[in-house]
Amino acid sequence: MDPVALSRRLAAGAVLSVPPFAVRLQTPLHVLQRSLHMLYGEFDLLDDGEAPDFVIRVSGTGGLHRFMRRQAMAFIDTPPPYTPLPERMAPIMFEQALNWCVATRTLTHLILHAAVVAKNGRAVIVPGQSGQGKSTLCAALVARGWRHVSDEFALMDPSTLAITAHPRPISLKNRSLEVVAAWAPEMAQSPAYEGTPKGTIGYVRPSRAAVESAPEPVTPVAVVFPRFDPAQAPALDAMGKAAAFIALTACSVNYREFGQAGFDAIGRLVDGNPVLGATYPDTGSAVALLEQVVG
């Protein structure tokens, strides 16, 4: 879709397919409209009558901020959970709002804060809180032909442990932006947004292949906790299963809501798959370790 037509639809409110969700987004902000054209260019717009899973509106704030230091505010359908950011950061505001919707309103999947990547159908869960390197590793692997299943959330069926793909722009922070740009200069990156509460943030545009393959769930064959340490040699170490269980529940955003089903699912995930810690001093060795994991 050409940028002008997209802007017109977004200004009125458009339903965007962000598998497995339909997101109704309304925004008059040109900075966000331009960003969506770039980052979500491979995603589909649905009919306006499509029932959305989430409704998000990102607009400017009122008052004096209309005239100076213009801000963007995300509205879901309750009071927004975030403080406004400068208007030029509206794309970050949208990603945060969508993350919040997924994390708090998804009742069908056990959600782990994790990237998920796959090679030849063999998926690896890479858990980690923000800043632990999962998105950098995800981008680096995707650049070498791995399937981009998700960079932020593993949406796991608690009965089968199958993971529903949720490809989104890969969020990179601070030094990771340079690392990925150097590793894969061909990957399309958004502008870098400096001065956010988490430093400088930028995004990698998902490929059409990632979007097209989204309806196919994946089954994990390993869980790998990443640890970047420039002083260490590359190493894969088996983690204790009990320690892994606790670490995975800590990474889940809705483990408690699932009760015993969540306990059983994490237990089966840990019992049925190797759980490893990957220590690496650079991107190349991280990718080599993950290649080793999927054989």
């Binding site: 299963k241 269980f245 529940t249 306990f263 237990g267 840990v270």
Partner: protein, 97 residues
């Protein structure tokens, strides 16, 4: 009374605790509270004993000494007392009234 003769039993109905055990420890899920807890091997062993049959701290210490061949000592008693107190706080065990 120092409390060592109070009988400890599961706070939740039978079948409420679900276990997963591995070489580096175990986790339990308490269906009554919805909480998950990590236990090291020794603490898990104590809970298994009380789950099998309610008993006092004193009796528990006696069983540990007999089964594990350990000497009864102030350190061991303090360790068991601490574990029981923690289980009580977590609503895993309670004192029989």
């Amino acid at each position: 009374m120092d409390g060592t003769s109070d009988i400890f039993r599961l706070a939740a109905p039978s079948g409420s605790l679900h276990w997963r055990e591995w070489d580096d420890g175990c986790v339990i899920f308490n269906r009554t509270t919805g909480e998950t807890h990590y236990l090291d091997d020794f603490t898990a062993y104590l809970l298994r004993l009380v789950e099998a049959a309610p008993r006092s701290q004193d009796a528990l210490t006696g069983t540990v000494c007999a089964e594990l061949g350990r000497e009864r000592s102030a350190t061991l008693e303090a360790q068991i007392a601490r574990a029981l107190r923690n289980f009580e706080t977590l609503a895993v065990l309670e004192r029989a009234r």
